[in-house]
Amino acid sequence: MAMTIEAVLEGILFVFGDEGASLAQLSDAVNLPSETVKEILDDMANTYKDEKRGFELSVFNNSYKFISKPFVREYIQRILTLSKTRTLSQSALETLAIIAYKQPVTRIEIEEIRGVGCDMMLKKLMAQDLVREAGRAESAGRPILYEITNEFLDLFKLISLDELPHLPQYEETQMSEQQLFE
């Protein structure tokens, strides 16, 4: 049967489903340098943007997987009850945001910013595989450091942490506006 590298990569990613595959695994499988494979995957990702396609290629931290396009969900719900989508509380989101921007970060540092204890919350986020331990800080008591996981990147559609929206820097800008109008 005639086939191309694209077809092989598409086939692998299709079969692996929610497990996804890493760039390293994919290049091993097709025996090509990872740069080449990455280029092919980038091109593929573009072709899935076509309006005739029902799924797309999601990329995070050099891992790839196919996910359905957002509009598909409501059609599926007409024929099958989907399990409720995961929800994250405001406190969970805040804690995740702080870890993502400050990582690796200790519990105390998170609590200082939020102004509330977050021991339970950290445990919960770890159980959900959104946060993991990342060694210990050098400071007194050698507290545990936390960082976010690939699962986090996937859940927020981030290719990498560099993609996080910039933290607002309003001290300077707003301040100067303020001064202007004073």
Partner: protein, 247 residues
């Protein structure tokens, strides 16, 4: 003073303060700390009067703000600049914390939108074929923690959930033995021989379907489409090579 919100909606004292700043139209960047502190103290006291359970974080903050306020009321000792320093530091520190927290709250809104978008999108479960292939591989490297376990369980349940929903529709139509026989023929096509009865009922989530499957298998044995052997308490089937059709 009337409050339309209760304490449970606030993530913590800083969150409450940001709410008060917004509600009282104070300017976060040129903050009148004294007004904010009065508002905060009043709010927490009202919560207590209403016998609402006030989380300890709110009270800790209340204590330090009250201290700040009372020190300010003390007659000023001209020779001692410490008091003034203390007030300035406390004020600056509070504003700094509020601004820092506000930044994360703002960014959380963006994250929330991304999260909602992504949660509309579904990945397909890993192919059973891969699981089957993986089963042949060695397990010596098995390295995992309890979180891996719950992830595995979640995955199973999610798949189970999808299957049970599709199956419900099928069973509602009351599969006939003939229909099930046809289904079995396609299932058998993908099964390595010999296969067991449980292999044939792997997709059955209701007793009814198991019984229909059993009857269908009996029928396939009768027309010699399948042959069977018994080993280790398990009945094993093979295809006879005869296609089972009468004509």
């Amino acid at each position: 003073m009337s409050f339309t919100v209760n304490s449970t909606v606030f993530e913590g004292p800083l969150d409450l303060m940001l709410h008060l700043i917004k509600e009282k139209k104070l300017d976060l960047f040129a903050l009148d700390v004294d007004v904010l502190i009065d508002q905060y103290i009043a709010f927490v006291h009202t919560m207590e009067k209403m016998h609402l359970e006030v989380a300890s974080e709110f009270l800790v903050e209340l204590a330090s703000l009250t201290e700040y306020k009372s020190r300010k009321c003390l007659p000023r000792d001209e020779s001692n600049l410490d008091a003034e320093e203390y007030q300035k530091d406390t004020r600056e520190e509070l504003v700094r914390r509020l601004i820092e927290y506000q930044k994360f709250k703002e960014v959380t809104e963006t994250l929330q939108i991304r999260f909602e978008e992504r949660s509309m999108q579904i990945a397909k479960p890993i192919d059973r074929e891969v699981l089957r292939m993986a089963e042949e591989e060695n397990l010596n490297f098995l390295q995992a923690d309890s979180y891996d376990l719950i992830k595995a369980m979640k995955r199973c349940l999610q798949r189970f959930h999808t299957v049970s929903n599709t199956e419900v529709r099928i069973t509602q139509r009351e599969l006939s033995i003939d229909q099930r026989t046809n289904q079995l023929r396609s299932i058998i096509e993908h099964l390595p021989e010999p296969f067991s009865f449980s292999d044939l009922t792997a997709d059955c989530l209701e007793v009814h379907l198991v019984i229909v499957t059993f009857l269908a298998v009996l029928d396939m044995l009768r027309i010699q489409e399948l042959i069977f052997t018994i080993e280790d308490d398990e009945i094993w089937f093979r295809r006879s090579g005869y296609d089972g059709y009468d004509d």
